[in-house]
Symmetry: C2
Subunit: 335 residues, 2 copies
């Protein structure tokens, strides 16, 4: 069913059909002619061809979003925010795990290079992503970085990471903890550095020093969280509290505490950044700092769709303050 099929059926020209379909306000047309056209559209079940439209309009109505791991509940929340706003703007979202981008022939790469997407939201961090970005940048697809900066030419959407880490640390400090370790994820990434800074600042303000080896870096997975937290505990048996930069890693930390025969929170308090519904249902309900993830996803879509976005800026999502959610994994130190 093409537009000219409809035109033929309704006895008008393709242009008229096009204007009816697109609700062209300036079109003055006989009431019955319009009805004839609409009837034809309906009966023949016509829908405009997406590729032809994209070609003509040089816009696809598609936004690509690349995140590290779609199964991570944290990213699910970002994606939900993105979806919602995309819906409002009449766009759809192509999601991809960063892990699939090594494939040189990936369809997503082709789309990004060939104007097949109107924008790219990228959570950088791996070598692959960098490649994608380079390509996108050169082809001037509007790009927004999520959480981690890559260069200074690309707009970055950030969370109030520094404050979140400080809030979490302050909470531990106010409970009386003095030696607070740090289980970091995403070494070298912008958001990680900001969280580190928040932790250091809070410690310093309390007259405590955050020692270099009170921090370990790992992957945001249960497995790696468990290993890294285990190493940290072994190296520093005097730690009474742990700040985890990622809920998922924190679940691993919970496991590590159990491995070492440490009770949470009695022997070790744990706070994590990012609140997820499940935090309340873990072996020890986790105290967390909630971040505006949904809003970040939404904002990223807005920004990438807005040609007035200044390249190279930074948008911090501060519509909601990092909010401490106290659960059972934190308490005053028992030693």
């Amino acid at each position: 069913m093409t537009i000219s099929d409809i035109a033929k059926a309704a006895g008008v020209s393709p242009a008229v059909v096009s204007r009816v379909v697109n609700r062209d306000k300036t079109l003055r047309i006989g009431k019955e002619t319009r009805e004839r056209v609409e009837k034809a559209i309906d009966e023949l079940d016509y829908a405009p061809n997406a590729a032809a439209r994209s070609l003509r309009s040089a816009s696809s109505g598609l936004i690509a979003m690349v995140v590290h791991d779609v199964t991570n509940p944290v990213y699910g929340e970002i994606l939900r925010g993105a979806q919602q706003t995309a819906g409002t703007l009449g766009k759809a979202i192509i999601v991809s795990d960063g892990s699939h981008l090594d494939d040189r022939a990936s369809r997503l790469l082709e789309l990004i290079g060939g104007n097949g997407v109107d924008g790219l939201i990228l959570q950088a961090g791996g070598v692959n992503s960098d490649l994608v970005l380079a390509r996108a940048g050169r082809q001037s697809v509007p790009t927004v970085l999520l959480q981690a900066a890559l260069d200074t030419n690309t707009h970055l959407v950030s969370l109030p990471d520094e404050r979140a880490a400080a809030t979490a640390t302050d909470h531990l400090l106010s409970l009386g903890h003095r030696r607070i370790g740090c289980l970091a994820t995403g070494e070298g990434m912008t958001f990680t550095r900001n969280r580190e800074a928040g932790w250091r600042r809070a410690m310093r303000r309390a007259g405590r020093s955050a020692k270099a080896d009170d921090i370990v870096h790992g992957q945001p997975s249960i497995e790696d969280g468990r290993n890294c937290a285990g190493r940290l505990i072994d190296a520093h048996p005097d730690l009474t509290a742990l700040l985890c930069f990622n809920v998922v890693a924190a679940i691993g930390a919970l496991q590590a505490a159990q491995d070492k025969g440490l009770r949470v929170p009695d022997d070790l308090s744990i706070v994590a950044i990012h609140d997820i519904e499940l935090a309340d249902h873990l072996s020890v309900p986790l105290t967390t700092v909630a971040m505006p993830l949904f809003e970040m996803g939404a904002r990223a879509v807005e920004l990438v769709s807005d040609k007035s976005t200044v390249t190279g800026g930074v948008s911090v999502i501060d519509t909601r303050d990092p909010e401490l959610v106290v659960r059972a994994s934190t308490a005053a130190p028992s030693r």
Copy 2:
């Protein structure tokens, strides 16, 4: 950068460039000519326009996947499988929450209607999805249904639901449970009915009857799982075990047990269908039945991309048997 820009720069015709780009084996071309073309492509950073290609080839390299809730870890696993296979086939995936499809003007609906996607993977269940499907069907976009049948004209990809529920029930039975309740999700859906059948079959085989009011239907959310399980417990205080059709609802059930002062597994055993990594880290580690979710996602993409897929068939993903993962939430009844 269009193909003719490159042609001009390399001093050849657009057709030659096209064939170089597409690795046309039949193209006999002077070695140095080819090099000139490749150099031009490289230097001018040419990438073929996606819309033009789609228009010409009548295929977009895009597959739409509609699920109920992207934040549900179960769907994350399906999505991962889908992504992986899509990568292999040179396709990208557009993901959407079913919830956004009520919007009549949704971009996804436009794409589906207008040949903007090569296939549709749909997890039906809501009124909205039905609408999408109807549209897709009429436009003859290859469609594959996930888990729930809608009509008999569309290929369905299923899990071994009946066996999974029977496996779970057998486990409880073998522990000595006699009154086993059922917390179902997705009332009336194919996969739910199959699981109900598995439960009934296992009960009958053990000489026990599964009474009609030993089953409640709810949403696959913690909240609703908690409420429904609570009601079931109140109505049938003699139940010693609960079979949950969904891990997420099962987490709610765990909560409900706690609400009622019931210890798990001492007073109430709980098994859930679908294994997720987190099940091991809950307040009570959940005994589950693992299903081949990843494989299902992968297979759905294969089927939807394969024109030889017979419409109306059913593919049961039985590359892996439903596998019981025993954790702490099940034990012999104490009463």
